[in-house]
Symmetry: C2
Subunit: 119 residues, 2 copies
Amino acid sequence: MSKDYKTGAHFLGTIYTKDSKKLLLYRQAKKIISRAIKENGFEELGSFYHDFSQGGFTGVIALRESHVALHTWPEFNCLTLDVYVCNFKKDNGKNCQKLFEKLVKFFEPEKVIKRRIKR
Amino acid sequence: MSKDYKTGAHFLGTIYTKDSKKLLLYRQAKKIISRAIKENGFEELGSFYHDFSQGGFTGVIALRESHVALHTWPEFNCLTLDVYVCNFKKDNGKNCQKLFEKLVKFFEPEKVIKRRIKR
């Protein structure tokens, strides 16, 4: 086995929203996510989004520093959100949290269940 | 707030491999991942993969049931792997674990650090 992998930070959230319209279409969220990734010093490599015919969307976004993923559940008025960044070149933990909080805020949370994992 | 969101299963792994060639190019992994997703009863909606010029790759795969994500680190002889599936229509926990284990096996693990989260 070679050198140890440097740990990264992974935020996992379930967010109940006050504005369920934001759970329906991905286009607005996609813009906000791309901007927030850049503003927090990360690089988006590419992404895939899908609108469900019954409502809601899913998005997976590859970063140079790992990934962002979100899945919305209009029927439960919530979404799950992952922001995971590695610490390969520097400690990205603070910016990971800032990116996570920025995206949570966009969805106008009524309640947030949040967990931070070192990995 | 409406009804409660049904919990899903999320496996997070750091896998040190015996065969570091598997960390270098995504094409073989992509085929295996797509096949394993299908074989375990999940539906792939789309994906984005990226090969890094310095070696290694990253992949994010959107499922109807949530996502798979992996990031390889040839310099550390390891990758991180996420398999997250919701339990929206049925309990997918067992198949989530089977899919995770199948992908771990593909990378010929020397050591696996694994964590399962209910979310």
